[in-house]
């Protein structure tokens, strides 16, 4: 197999470039062998995972990142930045463009500061949610983190990708405050109050003075974020975890319309989750127990599964936090509203925060609502047996019952046509829902993997025709998803391209990320 090289490079030229990288970060941290580069393949590729990385470099400091960027700029080597590369359903640590050098920031793993009094952390990109959680526990700070469902991801990476968790601090990009960014010319910038050298408010006041740029570095390829501030929730005096089961498939509409006012008026403060039956069942059983035929599980098999497991068609998880009397009052309000849905079955567990280390909620989804990271969500990989994998379709949805039902029907029907079960649910922001559907497939079954990939493509197009689009996407569909944002003949993309050309004229930073290509590749890559 011939070696992968950056575009336009000979082997000799690339070797010389690698030596320059080695001089900056040390040879052990320049990854070049095929075996070591396997970790930069897309682990859940919908089809055969193609090798795209020419090499990987693992700097340990911002200064090393700057030096690498300057070399890449001089030599025109495309870099693909990853924090820890654990975002498997969206492509992992794999680059989009063949011949990229992966700039892997996992060695930059310092928790630089946690401030208990003001409730924030300043971290480097290699710090995972597990790491930050352990650090806070070790120091005894009375603060909670807000982990996404798989807790091994980078705090910086997940925040930049606009990931979400399940506590009141669940909108990660909204809880970000202050960034340090290496630009494509190697220059170092700090955003917000960090732009003032002597300020002690970098992690306290986001805007600073004048134009605000933090959002520009999210889901983008305009710079490399090397430090990021994130607000942390003060440990609540008490909290309550609630499950509400609903018996009918059609209940989704009423659940959403009941939940929305409770979210908008602050009765329910966290990102509540409405889980479909298969998603719940996949955490406690596998598919062959319920259905061994071809294609998606028939309705009758799903209904049998629901009965035998005694689960809901839909289950709503939410949590309430704060002083006990406030929690009790909010619970009564929420319960009264939910009980109006016929057949609602509501159960609750109460916790006092000072007992958290000893009495932790045991169910996987509950832990996220209590700020505890885990990887139990990956039980889903066993649903179809074999070498399980999944890719996700993640449209945002208005927080109305009719829209949720429309998206659900659309996705379930298409998934069925391609032989996939509806493994999905809705996570409730204030005015929107994150609708997350996972196409679960066996990596060892090439046909199934390809069908999953084709299903995703069709779903993006279907949703676009209905005025819906994804909030993030797998590498393979970044151009297609970006194309759905088409107001005024794709004016937003043209703006992004002008910014890209101004900040990164050589086009070295993460080419193609979120559909934004450098001028030299524009129109050639789709």
């Amino acid at each position: 197999m011939s070696r992968i090289l950056p575009p336009g490079f000979s082997e000799r030229e690339f070797e010389a470039a690698l030596q320059r990288f080695s001089a900056v970060i040390g040879k052990p941290h320049v990854i070049t062998t095929a075996a070591d580069l396997e970790s930069y393949l897309d682990p859940f590729a919908p089809g055969n995972a193609a090798a795209y990385a020419a090499a990987a470099v693992r700097p340990a400091s911002t200064e090393q990142v700057q030096a690498i960027v300057r070399i890449a700029q001089e030599l025109r080597i495309p870099l693909w930045t990853v924090s820890t590369g654990k975002n498997l359903a969206y492509g992992g640590a794999a680059p989009r463009l063949k011949g990229c050098v992966v700039l892997d920031l996992k060695r930059m793993n310092h928790v630089i500061e946690v401030n208990e009094e003001l409730g924030y952390a300043l971290v480097e990109p290699g710090v995972s949610y597990f790491d930050l959680y352990a650090y806070i526990r070790q120091q005894g700070y009375k603060l909670w983190i807000d982990p996404p469902a798989p807790g091994w991801g980078s705090v910086v990476g997940n925040t930049l990708e606009r990931g979400f968790g399940y506590t009141p601090y669940g909108d990660h990009s909204a809880m970000q405050c202050g960034m340090e960014v290496v630009l494509a010319n190697g220059e170092l910038v700090r955003t917000g109050m960090g732009a003032m050298a002597g300020s002690s408010m970098w992690q306290l006041y986001k805007p600073g003075y004048g134009a605000s740029y933090d959002g520009m570095f999210m889901q983008s390829n305009f710079g490399i974020v090397t430090k990021l501030g994130i607000w942390l929730m003060p440990q609540p005096e008490s909290f309550l975890l609630c499950h509400a089961r609903f018996r009918q498939e059609a209940d989704l509409e009423m659940i959403v319309d009941t939940l929305r006012p409770l979210r908008l008026d602050g009765t329910i403060q966290n990102n509540a989750v409405i889980e479909g039956a298969v998603r719940w069942a996949a955490g406690i059983s596998n598919r062959e127990r319920w259905y061994e035929g071809d294609g998606a599980m028939p309705q009758v098999a799903i209904e049998r599964m629901i009965r035998q497991l005694d689960i809901g068609w839909w289950t709503l998880r939410f949590a309430l936090y704060g002083r006990k009397e406030v929690v009790d009052l909010n619970y009564r309000i929420a319960r009264k509203a939910l009980e109006k849905i016929p057949g609602a079955d509501i159960s609750v567990k109460r916790y006092a925060s000072d007992t958290v280390p000893a009495v932790e909620p045991s169910a996987a989804g509950d832990k996220g609502q209590a700020g505890i990271p885990g990887l139990a969500v990956f039980q889903m990989l066993n649903w179809r047996g074999g070498n399980g994998a999944h890719i996700d379709f993640s449209p945002v949805c208005p927080a109305t019952g009719r829209d949720a039902m429309k998206q659900y029907r659309m996705v379930k029907t298409r998934a069925g046509e391609y032989g996939f079960d509806y493994y999905g649910g809705f996570t409730a922001g204030l005015r929107h829902l994150y609708h997350i559907f996972a196409a679960i497939f066996d990596r060892g079954d090439v046909h199934q993997a390809e069908q999953a990939g084709e299903l995703l493509r069709v779903l993006v197009e279907d949703a676009g025709k209905q005025g819906y689009a994804e909030y993030r996407s797998h590498l393979e569909y970044m151009d297609l998803v970006a194309a759905q944002y088409d107001f005024n003949d794709h004016a937003l993309m043209r703006l992004s391209e002008r910014i890209k050309d101004a900040l990164d004229p050589a086009g070295i930073l993460s080419p193609g990320k979120q559909g934004v290509w450098p001028a030299s590749l524009r129109g050639k890559k789709t």
């Binding site: 597990f130 807790g151 091994w152 596998n286 990887l375 990956f378 990989l381 066993n382 074999g386």
Partner: protein, 152 residues
């Protein structure tokens, strides 16, 4: 052909370092060309009877058994990684396929590799696996035994 119980016992014996199949009896610390064999931890899933049986067998030989409680990520960060940082261990397990998939990635970040991964033909979606920073002799023998007995 031996049955599962005999297999588990054989595994336990090997892990205890008493016997390497096809070779003379060896002392625990003599396995691996005279190098000290790292201590072993066995990971099991308390929800799965076959996994529990396996853990019981090997723990009789003095191997530390730790339960995944359905979340190997939490187990890795709370128990396995701290133990590995103190003393290098060899890790083995009979768990769901998703667990070894995750552990493989977590172990790689810690400079360790999966040296064996064998699907169990008789136990659903279970996989027998071993992780270490290097392949050692006892591990190789164990791998061969597992290949003979577990693969369909």
């Amino acid at each position: 052909m031996i049955d599962r119980r005999q297999f588990f016992n054989a595994v336990a014996v090997i892990l205890a370092g008493v016997l390497v199949p096809g070779k003379r009896l060896m002392r625990y610390d003599a396995i691996g060309n005279g190098a000290t064999t790292p201590p072993t931890m066995v990971v099991y899933d308390e929800r799965i009877p076959a996994s529990c049986a396996f853990a019981r067998s090997v723990s009789r030989a003095g191997i530390r058994a730790i339960e995944s409680r359905g979340d190997v990520g939490e187990l890795w960060h709370n128990a396995m990684r701290p133990a590995l940082q103190r003393v290098p261990h060899r890790l083995i397990g009979l768990t769901l396929a998703s667990d070894i998939f995750l552990l493989k990635l977590l172990a790689a970040d810690a400079g360790m590799k999966v040296w064996h991964e064998v699907p169990s033909a008789s136990s659903g979606n279970l996989v027998f696996w071993g992780i270490a920073d290097k392949v050692d002799e006892a591990g190789e023998s164990l791998a061969a035994l597992c290949s003979d007995l577990l693969v369909a």
